[in-house]
Structure formats: C-alpha cells, structure tokens
Point group: C2
Chain length 662, copies 2
C-alpha cells in the first residue's frame, strides 16, 4: 500500500524545540490556518488536455503550470511561513523526488516552481509547475504552515489528490511531440484500428483503447504498483515502458493478460472476442488476477491504452511475416525431410502471418544522440529478454541502421523484420543442407493507422532501407558484426520455380505456376501440404495433403486445383443508432446479425463498446440457427463530444470476430 | 534432467527404408562395429592444461584438437560410412549446435573438424577439433555406423563423457588471453588473495578457489542447469557470465549463496568463517539449497572459482570506498540534521569501506570494437539489474571513458568508483542544502592480486583517468550526458577545516587538526560520533558520542583524544608442517592458536584448507580461556605438485577471521 497518510504527522515539531519554550517564540496575533483547498479542475483540465478523463480528481501533465486555490483563516501576511507539499509513495523523501515542497517567496526553491497568482481576501490562487522530469502518478496534497514550533499540515483529503502525467506538449519532457495532429492521435485518440490478416489481404480490426474511461488511470497505476517499480523510477519513460512491456503479460510477474494460442479458450474469453482494452484492465485491477486470454493484438491494444493513459505517445504496429527467432541467431530455419515434407518436430523458429507490437515516442537520454524517436516495445510473451518476458524499448532507427549494440532487444526486433528464411533439407545421415534462402519474405510490410484518419500508414521504410540499396547492405554488414548470423550459402540456380496463388473468395482454390528455365519438358512430383494455420504459423488442422505428378513444359505451365469449399457469404453485422446524438442525452443502439451460413452457430458471444459512449457490454446466445436474425438493443448517454464510434463484435467457435461499426 | 540417453535410439533407420527390403542393400562382408572408445586422458589433458581437474573423464578446451581411439571389429575399409557424435542437453539438435556429427572423409563437415591420425589394425586414432565457439559443458560421445538401413550407435557409456571448456589459449576463442603468465594466474591458479580493510590499512585474506577439486566442475554445470540457461547459449561468454552473476546469490533464482549483513549468523556459517569456495559449491550442488552466509568477498571468491573452472579468465577486485547508489542518480547523498548529527533514517545511499567484485577477460561481439578486455561482473546482491540481482558484464574501458550507454550496468559500476559524495544539511522546513562535496573519496583505490606473486596490483588507473586531467573531465561530461547526475553546487569556501587521524594501534585514539584561515581565534563546538561500522557502512554499535568546545587559534590547532582501549596483542595462528612434502605421500599439519586476550573466546570455529593438498576441514571449540593454547593436527596426501599453500582460520563472535598460512 502506497499511502503516505499513515506515516505523515499533521504536526511536526522543529528539531530541538519543545512545547515548554513557547514563550521564546514571537507568535503573530492569529496563527495562519488553511481551511480549504480547491484544485480548480474546470480551469486546469482543458489546458492540460485531461478533460476526457472520467475522474473527479485533478489530472495534469508535468512541466506545465496548474492552479490551485487555498482559503486561509485570514489574509496572508508577509511574515507568514508556509509551503505546499506533494507526496507520493509509501515513504516520500525530498532527495528522491517523492516529497516536493513548493515555496512561495525568497526561500530556496525545490524542483517544482510556485508563485502566487492572486490574493482576494482569504482566498489565494497559487500557480504550480511540476518539473518536466517529475515522477508520474497520484500525489497527496498538503498545505504546511510554520507555527513557530513546527509545521502544521492540513488533514489528508483524498479529493485533493493530484494525478500527474507525462506531457507530450512540453518541450522539456522526454516524450515531447511537436506536432498537434500527432499528439491528438497518439495521446488523445481513444479509438483505433489494428491491422491483421496477411500482407496481401490486410484486414482491419477496430479497437477501443478507452484510456479515459472510469477506473482506467487508477488501473494503470495499480499495474505499476504491482510491478514494484521504485517510485523514483516512475518519471523515467525508458524504465516505465520496459516495466509496462513486462507487466502486460502474466508470465513471471503475474501481469495483466494470459496468452493462449491453443484454440481452446474454455477457461476464459477467446482472444478474438475482445472489443477493447477497458474490460481487461478493470478486471485485472479489481481482482489482481491475470485475465484470460490474449494474443498479440490484444497485448498491443491494452499496452497502447496503458501508455496513452499515462501520457506517453504510442501506437500499435503490425509486422507482416514476422520472424520469431528463438535460438539466438538471426536466421529463421525451416527444416524439411529428405522427401520434401516439413520436419515440424525439429523446426523451432517460426514465422507469424503477422505480429503486433507498440511504438512509443521518446528521447533516449541513456543512449548517444540520434536514437530518440519511435521505440519498439512489445508485451507479447515471445522470448525472455534478459530474464523476463518483455521487449524494448528498441530505437526504430537503430534497427534500420543495424546498430544492435544498444539496449534493449534491438537484435530480437531486427530479426523479426529482417531474418533470412533458410530452407534446410536433412539427408539420411541427419546433416542439414540449405536448398533455398528467402531474404525478402520476413517483415514484408509494416503498418500502423494513419494520423487523423482510418487509412493505413505503411511505415516499412522507417524499419528498413530498400532491399538491394547500398544503405541496406551497410545495415546488414553492421548487424552481422554484432553477431547476426546471416546465410551466405551458395545456392544452385533452380531450373524450376513454382508460385502458388490461393484465392479465398467463396471457396478455396489454388493456381500453381511452374516456370522452367530449360528447353526440355520435365516430370515433376509436387507435394502440397494444406493446413489451417494460426497467425503464429502453428498448424491448427491439417486438411489436405496432395501429391501429384505434372509434366512441366518449357517456360511456363499452369495448374488449377480446387481445394475445398470453405466460405459462405460475407458475414456482416449492422449497427444502427436511434435518437439524436447529443451530449448527456440518452440514445439507443441496435445491433442486427443474420446467420447466412448453412449451419447453426453455437455459443455465440456478442459484444458492444464505444469509448466515451457506451461501456463494454456483451450478450450470449446458445445457438443461432441458419438464416435466423438476432437483434440486440441498448441505450446509452454520450459522455464525450466529437466524432465517436461504436463497435459490435460476434465471436463463436465456428466463425471468429465478425465486426460492425457505426 | 539433461540426459540425452533416454531419447536417443541405438538404431535409427533411414527414412523410407524398412527391414523387409534388406535384399536391396549391398552389405559388405562383415558389418563394421565399434567395440571400444578410449578418450586418451593421459595424452590430451596436459596439452589442454586440464591435468589438475580431479576427474576420471576427459576435460578439454574448445578450439583445440584432442584425440580419441576407437577400436572396431575389423580394420576400416574405404567404403565404411560412420561418424562420431557429441550430444549435449535434453534435446540435442544439429542446427542448435547441441548435436555435432564429426565426419572423416569427403562428406560435408560440420562445425567441428575431424581427421584420422593413425590406423593400426582395428584401432583407429581420431583427431577432433571442437569449434572455438562451441557450447561448453558435458557431452555424450557416440560412434554411429551406417549399416545400409540406418545408423547403428554405440551404447551410452558415461565414462566416455567429454567435458568441454572455454580456451584462453586459443586465439579464436572470445576468452583468448595472449600472455602465458596471465593464463597461469587467471585460469589455472587455484589459490588467491582477496584484499579487505580500508584504503589506508589494506588487509589480505587468503582464499582457496579450488576450481580443480573433486566435484567442482560438475557443481558449476549444475549451477547452469539450475539457471535454465538454454543449451545453445552456453558457448556465449557474455550471456554465461551474466547468468553466473545472477546465480551466485540466492535472490530471485534460488542461487548459490544467501547474503547476510546482520551480524547474526546463528542460522548458518558466518561469512568470515569460510576459507575458500569448494565447501560452498559442493554443499549447493549436493542439496540444491542456497548456502548460508556470504558477504561480498565470499560472493567474489566463489564466482571466481566458477569462472576459472569453466575456463574463463577471471580475477577478484577490491574497490575501496565503494559507493552503493540505490536511487538511480550517480550522487551519494549523506543527510545531516540541522545540529550536524547524521540523519541515518533518510540516508539511503551508502558507502562501503570496500567492495569486492570480479573481472573477466573477454571479447564483446555484441558491442562496437574497443570494448573488449576486462569486464566487471558482480554477484553480490546490491541492486536489481533489469529485474534480477546481477551486475555486468560492464567493460572496464567504458567505465573509464564514461561510455555508459552500453550493456550491462556500466552506470551502476561507474557510480561505485566515481560518485560524488554530497553532504546535505536539512533545515527546519525539511529543505536540503549541500554544505560539502567530496569528489575524490569514492573509488580511492582499486586492487587485485598481481600475476604470479602475492603482491598488490593497483589497477585504479584502468577504471579512472587521473583526477583533474582533461581526459577525466571528458569522461565526467560524457557520463553526465547519459544521465549521471553530478553535483554542481557552489560551495562557500570554509574558513575552518578539520582533519581527523585515527590510529588504531593498541588503543584507539584520534588527533584532530583544525585549520583556520582567518586571523581571529574562534570558538568551535565539535561533535564526534564514534561508531563501530561494518564494511558496508552500516552501524553495528554506537560506542562513543563526544561533544566538546575548543578555542581554535588562527592557522592551526591540534587536539588529541583517547577514545577507547580496544585491541589486545596481535592474534596469530601458527601453521606447521611435518613430514617430507612429496606427491602422494602422507604428511601432517599442525595448527596452534593461543588466546592472548584477557577474556575467554567462545564458540570458536577453526578451519583448514589447501587446494590440491587438503580439503576444507573444521573444528569447533566451545571456549578457549585466556592464555590457553589449542593444538590441532591433521594428516593429508598432496595431490597436485608445485608451490602450494595451506590456510588456517579462527573465527568467533568476539574476534573475526584470524588467519595463518604456510
């Protein structure tokens, strides 16, 4: 428990003074006393861009002045001796930055500056500017007045507690972001889009970050408390985001979310069923128990909420064909048996269809100049970094330029976007020979949502120089010097190349194009292994295994194969509003879903969420028969103004994450 | 359990082959069979400097050829198809470097090279050179012969297991050390000296590293297994020493030793009572339970054994006036109350009389060039480094030059040798004002034992440029740029300065020299706080508190004060040998100790140890009355040749660590 109140005394005598020597002290006619403290929420919040926080207490950003009004028992006199105290943590101390005494006058000033703005009778308006490197979190506020024999403090009052955040608007703050549109997006936007699917077929998933919703800021501070991050480290962005990346997953620190890639989610909610972060964060803060279940986009979504809520500019990134190197080298080895079938048992590295992580914008005072800017942080538990499941912050520019010697985890992220994929064949003795190397497949496309719109922003070029460019060669050489093992096998030029195009429109079919670079026809035995795979590359089920012989004519041949009839008509949900969308006036929302499949859907969960509008709500249907339509109505009172969104989501075992938005 | 034997089959059929198709296989007249494997200990050990290991199995160093003889059932024929396998870990795999297949012929060679040195009838002598970056640890050895249908392996035989170590003699190994005298000292010397005391009064403590003693190498591998270091990381010096620094202490990973600085050691052995590392390592390996108790020199001593045992060049360092910064800035704050008395409750940083750590010699492939060489590693649990109690490897040159941006923990070590000591006075409001800054006290002297002798080697200049030099200024500026907060307070020139010289000869007395830079005499109130402190700066007991008034005359005054009669005659132990010191011949040792104190010594433990001579032995005496002499005799058989040492130690509550050596 981090309360200071147990440990602070309302009266603290001066050293060496005793009550019996009262006669020596020149007492003023009436002892000064502070009767009331007003934190002036309405004046401060708009100036600090914190109006949206669903919170009675004052929330401000560091490095920027806020005002507070103290009412005394009499007008201030020049000889009055007092200060305002801000205390955080269980053991506040001035030289650790966790007990700040702000003085108003000639007396030596501490790290926060204070001034008297206005005195009207007994009411005095103070202006206080927390240091731009101040500790972030919840401070207790006291007025302390010297009575001659000691300091008399005001009583502890939770309603005057002050929340202090990082400040992207303040040039002295390490998280400063000069562009207003970017600040609006990366700090203040509470809705977003996370990209999924594959590089050739990008799908969008709406996500409600909800960093301003009731209880979220307290939940984020609860996470820091659970992590036992020392109070004096809580103003340090680099340390804080590293702690955050460790705390989002439950591994080794009992953090927020339990990962599950098994396809059996019966002990919790499926990762596909979440519409946003708030439900997860509140459940964790209320119970202290990790929430079941998450996969990478859930980790990235919730982490983004945590970061934006504390005021750190952050965004969610999707890397298509993300290598997951778990052997310490920077090659992704795919092993095949002598007959060409994959050797899954011995292939430990894996490639994920896509992988989501976060970027935060910050200076790096711990590193040489030039490494500030966007930094990769990843909370999905892939590999331990120096003992814990966490990753980053790794400067994006260091990854682009191959400077892998700087902390944290640049090598791991570099491998995720740059690994060579080495196809190795095992001969009968067990020896492995590379037969193909793909140097371009990994990290094919890196996306994030654009600023101020719903468009894709392709940021691949912030991670990589163009393939084949001199700069890219320099990066690769540098990376290799830091122990990145690349493949330099001399590969025979293949006479035969094969491209496979799979079209998943209404049924799954594949077109094989064989290109032969010789003039003689060849007989080819093709082995086609059809699996349903998760986005992590793990095989869910093996549904077709085709071996066929083709005679390939010189130069080009095509072969078309129908694999399986798989998809029904597109599944959509309609989300309809009724009523006038006015602030603080009740209105309604209707969700409609029709099962267009030829089979019943069982164990269907419907969810509904809209930041600033309607909290996460859900409904469960035991079965929706074919062609049946279900309708779900809810009413809500919009809390926040502006263009806002409601997302509805249908999730069941047979059909995952059908969404609709309005 | 890391045994491969459960999981390897003696016969592994080729893929696609079946026993029923035997007729297709052209079988030679007699199938080749390996009857016996001889690891040739006597030939290999001297060449690999591993003779001293008390171990039946072969111990060799990587990157250097060793020989082994295989006896077959018939002479080899050119068409014979076989290889020798080396397997380590629970799941050996060729592409992770944990299953090595060494071939002898034209077939593609793996990472270890092999050649046939000699064939005499059925006995074939093979030469095998493990890769200079190979995994270090205990390998199983198999001969695998192709029978046409599959590979026939020899039976698992623990006596042929091979221990592979780092190799300071091999230029391709990252731990290469070019100088033979240094290799003899830092890899092969199993005795040493650890410096203690204070910078003005250095004391020597003999320490038996004992890295070659029975069971120690297995204990070191047990520690790696307990840490769950992945097998493929066990050839990487940087990762291995970082793991080692975390595993020496019991915090957060159930490691080797429990720290105790309380002065109550009733639940274990006092840190002062150990004579060497072997007893601790064997007890840990046999029980898996952390050993009680250690302080910094014990951690450094045992860690040194671990490192040298695995073949990593290592030495123990003592830093006098070692700052222990636990707030993340690089200032050591000492707080005083308004009346000049120390404010111990709020002083969190501390200064240790001395602190011991280790250095290892290695390249740093993870960092830019120029950072190779000696690296600080520290296993004493002071502060967590990125979540665990561990520290380093931090390049010594990076500390000297202020390049604090490179991993690991350069900032923390920099503070230990460079912190400014800031004396802060708290005024009645609680505000802190610096009144004195000492920029030279911390890291005053850094010592290690010299190569090939018992002399001190002062290596302060490897950590620091001379105070006041331009290079030192550049280092400080660089460190500051990386967030090292230095003190820049403008301090008033003091009129009065005081030096205190304490002479601890037979009684404790102090001489105060007051120097006054004005022409008028002044009356001064001096406050002297006399404490018995541990080497960590923690007060054990407060034995005198003197306040006196002096009239200080201009320029210089002296004051002499007798504090307390403390020390009796020097306590010594005599260690006497009898018998001819010959290898493998019994001889005797006699330890004599006389209690010259005027009080009885109670609960006395006597210990005796000599690497290669006599294992750690101890004896307990309930009470030794004043002037009584005790005599203890033991016999032993010297196992190793050369100049060797026996250390005896007496330890009890009243008098700590009286030692004698012969």
């Amino acid at each position: 428990n981090l309360s200071y109140s147990d440990d602070v005394s309302e009266f603290e005598p001066f050293e060496g003074s005793m009550t019996s020597v009262l006669c020596f002290v020149p007492t003023p006619s009436v002892l000064l006393e502070a009767l009331n403290i007003n934190m002036c929420q309405d004046v401060n919040k708009p100036k600090h861009y914190t109006t949206d926080y669903y919170m009675q207490n004052l929330v401000v950003r560091r490095g920027q002045e806020f005002v507070m009004q103290v009412t005394f028992n009499r007008p201030l006199a020049p000889e009055d001796d007092f200060h305002i105290e801000f205390a955080i943590g269980s053991d506040p101390s001035p030289n650790k930055g966790s007990l700040i005494m702000v003085t108003f006058g000639n007396r030596g000033s501490g790290s926060w500056s204070g001034r008297i703005l206005q005195s009207q009778g007994t009411a005095v308006m103070f202006g206080i500017t927390p240091n731009a490197a101040a500790i972030v979190g919840k401070f207790q506020v006291y007025v302390a007045i010297s009575t001659g024999m000691g300091m008399q403090r005001t009583k502890r009052d939770p309603t005057t507690d002050l929340y202090l955040l990082f400040n992207a608007w303040c040039p002295d703050d390490h998280v400063f972001l000069p562009n207003e549109a970017e600040r609006q997006e990366y700090v203040l936007n509470d809705e977003g889009v996370i990209y999924q699917g594959s590089s050739t077929s990008v799908t969008e998933r709406p996500w409600t970050y909800g960093q301003f919703e009731r209880g979220i800021l307290d939940a984020c501070i609860f996470i820091l408390d659970t992590s036992q991050t020392p109070i004096y480290d809580r103003g340090n962005v680099v340390k804080l985001v590293r702690v955050g990346s460790a705390m989002m997953n439950s591994q080794d620190d009992n953090g927020v979310m339990v990962g599950n890639w098994s396809n059996d989610y019966s002990l919790g909610k499926p990762p596909t069923s979440w519409t946003g972060s708030t439900k997860i964060l509140l459940q964790y803060a209320n119970t202290g128990v990790p929430v079941c279940f998450a996969q990478c986009w859930v980790y990235a979504g919730v982490f983004n909420t945590f970061l934006r809520c504390l005021g750190i500019p952050a965004r969610v990134i999707t890397n298509y064909n993300s290598a997951h190197d778990n052997t310490g080298n920077l090659k992704t080895d795919l092993l095949f048996n002598a007959d060409g079938t994959p050797d899954r048992r011995n292939t430990r590295d894996s490639i994920w269809n896509y992988h989501c992580w976060n970027e935060v914008m910050t200076k790096r005072p711990d590193l040489p100049p030039g490494l500030e800017g966007w930094q990769v942080v990843d909370s999905t538990p892939q590999e331990t970094s120096d003992g814990y499941f966490r990753c980053g912050p790794a400067p994006v520019i260091a990854i682009k330029e191959g400077h892998l010697c700087y902390p944290f985890d640049c090598g791991f992220v570099f491998a995720e976007v740059n690994s060579d994929v080495v196809f190795l064949k095992r001969d009968k003795y067990g020896d492995l020979t590379p037969f193909r190397v793909d140097k371009t497949y990994i990290g094919e496309k890196i996306l994030t949502k654009a600023v101020g719109s719903q468009e894709q922003n392709n940021i691949t070029n912030t991670y990589k120089f163009p393939e084949g460019s001199a700069e890219n060669e320099a990066t690769m050489a540098r990376a290799e010097a830091y122990g990145c093992e690349r493949d330099h096998s001399e590969m025979p030029e293949d006479d035969l190349s094969v491209t496979v195009i799979v079209e998943p429109v209404t049924h799954l079919s594949a077109t094989f194009t064989f290109t032969l670079c010789t003039c003689r026809a060849q007989n080819v035995t093709a082995h086609l292994d059809c699996d349903i795979v998760f986005y992590t590359g793990v095989v869910a089920s093996h549904f077709k295994d085709i071996t066929f012989d083709v005679t390939v004519l010189p130069y080009q041949s095509e072969l078309h194969e129908n694999l399986v009839v798989l998809k029904s008509e597109d599944s959509v949900m309609n989300v309809l509003l009724n009523g006038e969308p006015l602030l603080n006036q009740e209105m309604g929302v209707k969700v409609e879903f029709t099962n267009h499949f030829s089979f019943p859907l069982r164990g269907v969960s419907l969810s509904l969420e809209g930041a600033g509008l309607i909290g996460p709500k859900s409904k469960y249907y035991r079965e929706i028969p074919p062609q049946a339509t279900i309708t779900w109505q809810e009413t809500f009172i919009p809390r926040l103004p502006g263009l806002r969104r409601i997302t509805a989501l249908m999730d069941c075992q047979e059909v995952r994450q059908v969404t609709g938005t309005t």
